[in-house]
Structures are given as C-alpha cells and as structure tokens.
Subunit: 667 residues, 2 copies
Amino acid sequence: MNIAALQAIALSVRSLTIDAIQKANSGHPGMPMGAAELGAYLYGVELKYNPKDPKWLNRDRFVLSAGHGSMFLYSLIHMAGFDLSLDDIKAFRQVGSKCPGHPEYGRTPGVETTTGPLGQGIATAVGMAIAERKMMAHFNTPGHQILDHFVFALAGDGCMMEGVASEACSLAGHLGLGNLIVYYDSNHISIDGPTDITFSEDVGRRFEAYGWQVLRGSMYNFEDIASLTAEAKAEKDRPSLIILDSIIGKGAPTKQGTSSVHGSPLGDEEARKTKEGLGIPLDKPFWVAPEAYSYFKEHQGELEKEYDAWQLRFEAWQKANPSLAQELTIWLSGKEMHKLDMPSFAVGDKVATRNASGKCLAAISTAWPNFIGGSADLTNPNVSQLPQNTDGTPLVFSKTNPMGRYIYFGVREHAMAAIANGIALYGGLRPFVATFLVFSDYLRPALRLSALMRLPVIFVLTHDSIYVGEDGPTHQPIEALAALRAIPNLKVLRPADAEETSASWKIAMERLDGPTVLVLSRQNLPVLEKHESDWSSKIRLGAYVVKDSDRAPEVTLVGSGSEVSLAISAAEIVKSKRHETAIRVVSVPDRGAFYASCPTVREIILSPGSKVFVAEAGVAQGWERIAPSDQILSIERFGESGPGDKVAEYLGFTAQTLARMILAKLD
Amino acid sequence: MNIAALQAIALSVRSLTIDAIQKANSGHPGMPMGAAELGAYLYGVELKYNPKDPKWLNRDRFVLSAGHGSMFLYSLIHMAGFDLSLDDIKAFRQVGSKCPGHPEYGRTPGVETTTGPLGQGIATAVGMAIAERKMMAHFNTPGHQILDHFVFALAGDGCMMEGVASEACSLAGHLGLGNLIVYYDSNHISIDGPTDITFSEDVGRRFEAYGWQVLRGSMYNFEDIASLTAEAKAEKDRPSLIILDSIIGKGAPTKQGTSSVHGSPLGDEEARKTKEGLGIPLDKPFWVAPEAYSYFKEHQGELEKEYDAWQLRFEAWQKANPSLAQELTIWLSGKEMHKLDMPSFAVGDKVATRNASGKCLAAISTAWPNFIGGSADLTNPNVSQLPQNTDGTPLVFSKTNPMGRYIYFGVREHAMAAIANGIALYGGLRPFVATFLVFSDYLRPALRLSALMRLPVIFVLTHDSIYVGEDGPTHQPIEALAALRAIPNLKVLRPADAEETSASWKIAMERLDGPTVLVLSRQNLPVLEKHESDWSSKIRLGAYVVKDSDRAPEVTLVGSGSEVSLAISAAEIVKSKRHETAIRVVSVPDRGAFYASCPTVREIILSPGSKVFVAEAGVAQGWERIAPSDQILSIERFGESGPGDKVAEYLGFTAQTLARMILAKLD
C-alpha cells in the first residue's frame, strides 16, 4: 500500500467535502471527513471497478448506507475517474446536478443505490449479497468464475439503530452471506449529541448474536483496515462487520467529535482553520492533491488489467457455456426466458385472487427462471409459494442452497422490501415479495425507495379489505390502498377476478421501470364474464367495461377488486326494483393508469351523461375525482372482527346499500 | 404455589382455546395452548390486578405482544373474574364481540393494548415501563410508594424478528428499565415452518448486547417460571428477558410442535383427541376445570386484600401530599395544570412553522407538566426541544433521571411511536414525538395503532414538502400528507403560519380521543393577516377565509400550510393582470374536519358559484372532492435536490404557475 498516496486521497476527500458543502451552504461534512481514510482505502486499494464501465457485472458493489455523507462518495468517484467532474461537484445540491444531496441511483455513475433514509442501505446491501450468491451459484462453473466480487457497505450509528437494519442483518447472518462486508463508522455521535444519550448497546455483540464475524480497528490506520478487510474476505460462511472507531468531522479543529459537524457546513472560519491544520491550500478551492490524481491514474491501469483479465475469463466462459451465456443475457434483460403460459379460469368459478395469483406464480417461475422471492412468514396465506423444482433440487434459498429461489424472509417485512430492492439493483433477477396489504405499512420506506429508483420489484399484498374477516381491524386494510396509490411511480393493480389477476401479473412482469403492487383478495370472487372482449388490453389503460347495458347507461358503477362483483350485484338489485335502469359496470384494476390516460378514454369509459357511482372497501380518498362524494360507497372507519360478510353488513358495505344509494339518486 | 390449581387453569386455557376457535372456525390455537402454563402462573400467582377495577393505577400491566394468541388472554381474563363471560368467549371473533380476533384496547376489560401486528406489543410495553418510571419518580414519596408494579409482556418468535422490537429493546436496555419483564415464548415455530428456516440468531445474546438480563427456563415448569420471575423482579437496573422453551399447540397429539397449529382451528378430530389426551371432558364444550374457578375465587380474595392495602397507602399518601394528589388527578384527566399562555406572533413576520411550534412547546410544557416526548434524533431540525427545567434539574429522561421529560429516542422512529402509544395507554402523561414528515413512513404501523386505539399521541412532523430543498427526494414528502389524511381517527393539522401553528397545538392538546399530527414547514412563512377575526374558532371546522374580496368571489383559492401564502401571492398576480377578479383565499389546516363538517359550512366557505382552485405541494389525491383535477396545482412526482425555491421553480410549483392556471380558466 502506498500510504502517502492514500493519505493524499483522504485529504482530498476532506478538501472537496469542505468546499462543496460550504458552496452549497448545506450538507453533511461529518461523515466524509470522519471516514475519508476508509474511502481512500476502498477506492484506492480494495474495490474492483472500472470507471469506464460502471455497470461491469463483476465489480465490487459499494453501498454508502450513511447516505447523508454523499460527498464521501462523490469525492472518491470523481478522483477514481468516473464520469463526474469537479464542475459536477461544484454543483453539489443544485437542481439537476449529478451530485444531489443524497446519493441517487441513476443520477451519478458509480452510485449503486439511493440512500439517505437510514438503515435502508445496509438492508439493500444484504439483498445485493443474496443476489450475488444466487447468480454465482447459477452461472459460475467449476472451470470459470465469472462472479467473485464482494458487497461492501458503510454504515453509521444511525443505520445501526434502525429496525430495518436489525432485521436484514439477522437474516444475513442466517444466510451466511460471506460475500457481505459492512464497515461500521463508529463515531459515537448522532444529530442529537453523543450516542451515549440513547445508544449504549454493544453493537459488535449483537452482530455476533446474528452469526456475523465481528472485527475491530481504527479508522485512521490503513494497515488495520487492510488486514481486517482481508480477514473479512477470508471468512466465507459469515458476513463480517468491521467496527472502525472514528472521529466525526476529523480535521475540523473545534467541531470534530461533536454533533455540530454532522449536518451543517463548517462555516468560513472553521473551514479555513481546518484547511490550515490539514495542509490544504487556502487559495485553491475544490483542491485535490496532485498525488491523489496521479495515484488513481496509475491505479486505473491496474484496475483495467483486472478488468481485461475478467473479460478474457468471461469470453472463455461464454465459449465453454454457450447456453448459460445466452441465459445470462436474457436474465440481465429482465425478459422472460421461456414462453409464458398463464393459467386460465372458467367464467363463473369462484376463486380468491390470491389463489389465482398462486397459479400465476407457477407459470411465471417457469417462464422466468430468474424469478426469486418469498414472503414475510405468510407463505400459505399469501399463496406465494413457488412450485418445487422439477429436477428435484431444493427450492429454498439458503446458506447451503444458493441455487434456491424461494426466500423465507421471516417476520421482517421492512428488510424484505429493502432486500428486494438490492436484488433488483444487482441485476439479472426478478424479485417479488409478499405480505398482507395491511402490513404494507411496515415496508413502506423501502417501497418508497423502490418507486424513487424505479426498480422492477413486485409486491404481492393479499387480504385486501375488511373481507379478511375474523382477524379484525388490525388486519383489515382501510387506508392502505389509498396510501399506496399516492406513491409516484408505483403501479397499484387490484384485479377483480382470477382472469384480471393473471393479466395483472403479466403487466407486472413486463414492467421494468418501476415497482408494481398486486392487491389481492383473501375471499373467493366469481370469475366475471367480460363485456369487452379486449379487456386484457384495455386494462393497460387502467379500466374497462365489464358489464354494459344495451342503451346509453344512466348509471356507471365503478370499482376495483372485490367491489366489481359487488357492483354487478348492486346493478341487479337496482334493475329488479327499477326495471328500465341502464347500468354499466366498470372495473378499474389500475386507477393510476386510468387517471393518467387521455381524457377522452376516461370519458368514453365512464359514459358521458351517466351518473357515476363508486364502491371501495376502504376510504374514498382519490375517487372523488370521478364521482361526487355522496355517490361513493366507502368505509371511513376501522373494521371489525367477524366473518367477512357479517363485517360488511355491519359496516353497511353491501350490494343492497349501494343499490339504495343509486336508487335514491335516480328517483 | 398450588401447582395442581395452576395445572387446572392451564388445562382450562387449552379447553377454552380449542372450543372458541373450533366454534369460530378461525383463530390461532398454537400460542395459547403452548403458553398456557405461563398464563396460569401470571394470572394465578404473579400479577397484581383487581377484576372489579381493571383500570387500577397500580395494577401490573400485561401486554400480549403475540396478539394472535388472543384466546390466551380471554381465557385468563374470564377465569380471573373480569367482566367477560363464557358467553362472550362463545362469541369469539363475531361482530360486536368482547372477544375480537386480536385483543383490542377498550373492547375488553383487562386488555391493556391492541396487538396483532407483530413487534408492536413489546415496544408498547417499553413505553408503559418508561411511563411508570416517570410517574414513580414524580409521585412516589420517601414515605409512600403508590406505584411499584411491573410491566410484563409475552412475545413470540415473530415479535423477536420485527425491527420495531429491536429498536425498542435497545432503548429499554439503554434506559435500564428494571420494571420491564418480557417472557419469550420460544417455540421455534412460525407460520412458514420451524424458525430455523430463517431465524437462527441467538436472541438471548442479542438482548444481553442491549443491556438486558437474560434468563432461561422451561414453559412447563412452574417452579422455573416463578424463580426466574423473582430473579427478574430483583434486577432493578436492567429489563429482563425470560426465554421459555415451549411447544406450540402443546397437547394436540399430531399437530403440536408444527406450524399447522399456529393459525388454524385444530379440526374436530384433533380437537377430540387433544381433549382425550389432556383429560378435558368431551361432552362439555367450553369446559373450565372447577378447581380453576375455585382457585381464582380464593385468589381474588387475596388480590383484594392487596388492593385494599394499596387503597390505604394511597389515602395516606393523599393526606400527606395533598398538592401532589391534586396534581395526579389533573395528570390523569389529560387536562392542563396551569394556565396555557401561548406565544403570539406579529402579522408580517416570517416564521417557519417548526419554529413557531418550538415556541408553543415551551408554553405547553409549562401548562402540562406531564408533557413528555422527544425526537428520533432530529431534535434541532424538528425544533422539538423542551425548555430547561427552571429548578435546575436535568430535563432528559434517563436511567438516572426518571424525572426527566425529554426523551432522546435515537434513530428509531418506529419504536418511538409505539413507545408513545405505551405512554398514552399508561395514563397520566401527554406524549409527543417528532421526526421529519417523510419519515412518518417509518412509524406508520404504530401510528395506525394510535388511531385505532384513539390514543392522544401528538406527532410533530416537520420538513413538510419539497421546500426541504437540498436534502432531495429522499427527504421531500410528496405522498406523505395524502397517506396520513387517509387514516381514520387521525387528525392531520397543517398550519399555514405561526398563529395557526399555535392554534393547532391547542387543538392537539385538547384532543383526548385520538392522535394528532402537526405538519410543519422547514422554511419561513409570513404570519398572515386574517380576514376572519374568529379564524381560530373556525379552524375547528377545518377551514376559514384568510383573505377575501369585497364582492362575491369569482375564484376561491384553497390550500394548507405553505400553499396558503403561495395562494395569496397567486391572487395578487391574477389581480395585477385581470384587475376586476374577485378572489377569496381559504386556509384548510384540517382537511378531515373540513370534509366532515356540514355541507352548508363547506358551501359557504368555498363560496357557491366561484371556481375553486387548490394548491398542494404534494399529490392532489383527496382534493378532487372540492376542485376539478385541472384546477389543482399539485406535485405528482418525486422531488429534486436543490434550494427549496429552485426546486419549486423546476417543478413548476409557483405562484406564477398557479396564477396562469387561474387566468386560463377565467378567460
């Protein structure tokens, strides 16, 4: 190791951090200044990457879980030769910049995931490590190792306090992810002050309890970092936590080691004194040590050699394994590998959409051998099990069976979703996760990041309304659907029957630029006869006419999921009481798409001139766009424990009530 | 200990559990059957309670964190003599029953909190233990201990896996809550199968790392349970985890020890065989062993003696400490103790509503000495600090200062909210918690339980929109406000300026039947001159006219928070371009109340005949009720990192855009 060069790199991280944050007058200098040495070591020595090919398959993944320390990443990415200029750094935290306040996936080359909300990065890194294990098992051959990189993450005290990190690290220990190495920047400072005001647990011991290897050293000793990292890499059966004692904002003479340096610019005076103390020229803003640039220039040559060697290995692998190579191409494309043969259902049959979904999973897992996922300990209720492998190999992903594709996530919804993000980010695999709709609250922060990063993660959310029944209000979603529909980039599909479920799964699998939620019923629903024969194309516009009248409708009844058959029943009741009523029933499996479709489409479907009524087994919020609130039958309170139909009656959520509402408006 | 009687009680728990679940044809027999012995010990020996006074101040609190095992609780509550009959148990899981599927607070005497969503109960118990420590410190005197009970919880594997439990238990260890005793029903089975498929960590070691005392024993040895509990109670400085090895569904001959007994009725055949094996008469459904009833009858006598002795202690305490006694009465009422003297603000001043809120906190903490809370490591950004105590005692609640009233929750949003629920449930204290609005996602499952239980918890959620600025999309709420407004029973207040903030805090403090969210700005907002002098009463209806025209308005501009001043600016622009335009501006700090108010109120405020426009720095969802979607200026995408005003410009969310939208509709 060229210690002098690494010191120059660390010094430059501090220099760029100070100036970028001073210029933006906003940012978090504490972490990059405190952990600059680790950054120098990682980008200068440890990590395998190619700045000219930032998506290189076998690159080491590095996740900055402490995302507020984004200048750590930007400084190093810049010096290491990625397409990130000093001018980009000078635009830190400005609109349109490649250096936004927190690292954003897709915005900056070399940024592997969006971080900032604490705990997410480390859980996402667990997902990447799972993905690598699976991909290694599938594609490496005895003769050719095309995947042998590591997943590194850097986490701070905040990440260690978040529950999502606890969940993910417990699972990582269980799965024995020896390819995962987490550095813990232990600076004992959080925003509110020293961590001892609230966080006095023994983190190392906790991780040992999870089954991790735990190592300890100093952030400011390169030999330490190198030897601990080597030890971590040598441990193949356990993930490693390397606890590095550090000083937040190291180098700031009066502020280092205090919470004041966590999230605010140093200020002119302190910045000047810091530079003086460290030997950063005062007259050269955004200064980078020439030794840092020259070191990286040379280092790039070495990295390129490794990269070229890998290319040769890869080509040899391709030659030796042509069908595997073709498979890899298809896996990486996200497309199906075999013809998709979705199940069909008979009109009139009664099938819970969760069960229909279960049948779809079998078809999908055949068409996409890279389909991988599981449930947060609700496999049977979610009907999320995948079919057993036909070759007799075990289905479940585990320490001893990395070929597996079903993951038992345990009762860890939040980590499950963040792990799915990591799997999606890794590439090559198509992740899905499952839980009850009401527990989407538990995984919402990770789901938000899916949406923000536009990752193709699929969320199977069953037990979608009060029809859950006996489990009662804690398990009956009321506000969950509205809350999910509010999230940008998230496709929320709520199929009305088994056929729509099958069509929804197809849409979800074809969608590669964002997450999709499938909202499914616990209870049986009749497979509907559809008025429009091209309904399965039309639902891509969000809605279609499921039942129509032979005349221009007086009434248009709108709903999704189980409310579509409820609307059909209500229509029957209305017609039995007021024979001449012309009623149309519209299914809206994708309200977002429907609202986003062109106004003419909406107008035609809703039949201009008709009175529009909506039924929703949850809050009305958002449906007022197409119907006056007194024409929406909704549930604006929490549910009740009892058989589903009794609960519905008790809450007045029945076809009879809807029919009465309609009749009252017609008379 | 009368072991025979305890065995009879345990047997009766199994009997009632089997029959109630068979009759309902729905429920979770595994946990009550597996942990019946602990239940017998707790209700038969350990717990201090009075079934005739279930709210007795000094009762031991018992939280069934594994809430799916509700029949555990109902069986014992029934036998122990609370107002819960066998007929109630026969109505298990029926609409309106006192025995809903999961325990529901307020529905059943002796049920201390609503549980079911895993991890919540244990975190809530931590809150109760914090509350007791604080109340003990405040009200016990050297001569009189009116509070000396314990907080017990029973948690299963699922609870141990949930992140919220990890967060809460880490904090409990830090705070040294020796009054908290958690039994871990370690049956090694979850829904998906044996826990070793996903959960192989050493839970005991993890809790030791948190600073807990960890004890181990068998679920089926009463002596074990008793001696371990004694040991736990003797440890004053650390919470205790008692790990009890158990067999899920114990007694069911073919199903015990398997996941099939977790969440489904035993079935006729297995139920019969279980009863035969255990010696439960087959011909007596809902059988309770006579020895169980007679034991409890006698035990009630002993408990009453303890209760009566406490009453004497309490009376002596009252006599010796009349002002403290008066204080306790007021604390328990939830009302203010001293005159509330809210801060005033000058019209035209520019004040961030988070800063206005900070000033209110000072006034509130004087009026309510029982006001207690804190932030998830964002004290300064949330401006959630309370003023220092005037008597010089330390402000912060800690192991050594249980008198404290400010809690450093650490980066543990989810546990923070669940703990606040526990504090509110305990009674006597008025809890508040704080974080960024965007991180309300992290605490949403606990917030939902606040709303479901109608607990008076106050959530201070600052940094309420894209005006957060540089921190970027991970920190800029877009969908959060809509998602919160969708939750039943939750009051969401988004004040437009400092004065409205003050009024909102008053409303929040006066509200005792549900949680309140205060949504506050990071950026400065002008203190508005209000057209309606009685605005502060009117906002109880949700909305008021902040600025009016001298004629019937052509245009009504509606918004909340920072969008009210944006609307005022837009009105100026419109009038500068189209002089005659009559514009009204309406502030809607409480959309829920506004929508719930009578139609006439809404009509008058929105001025019939005027065109209604809305501005919302987030998704439009829910505003379509009062304005067509092309008259709503909203943000339907994630934000952007940059100075707040630049981000707003970039997203087209400005007074100019709003003015253009209005002018286009008028011409």
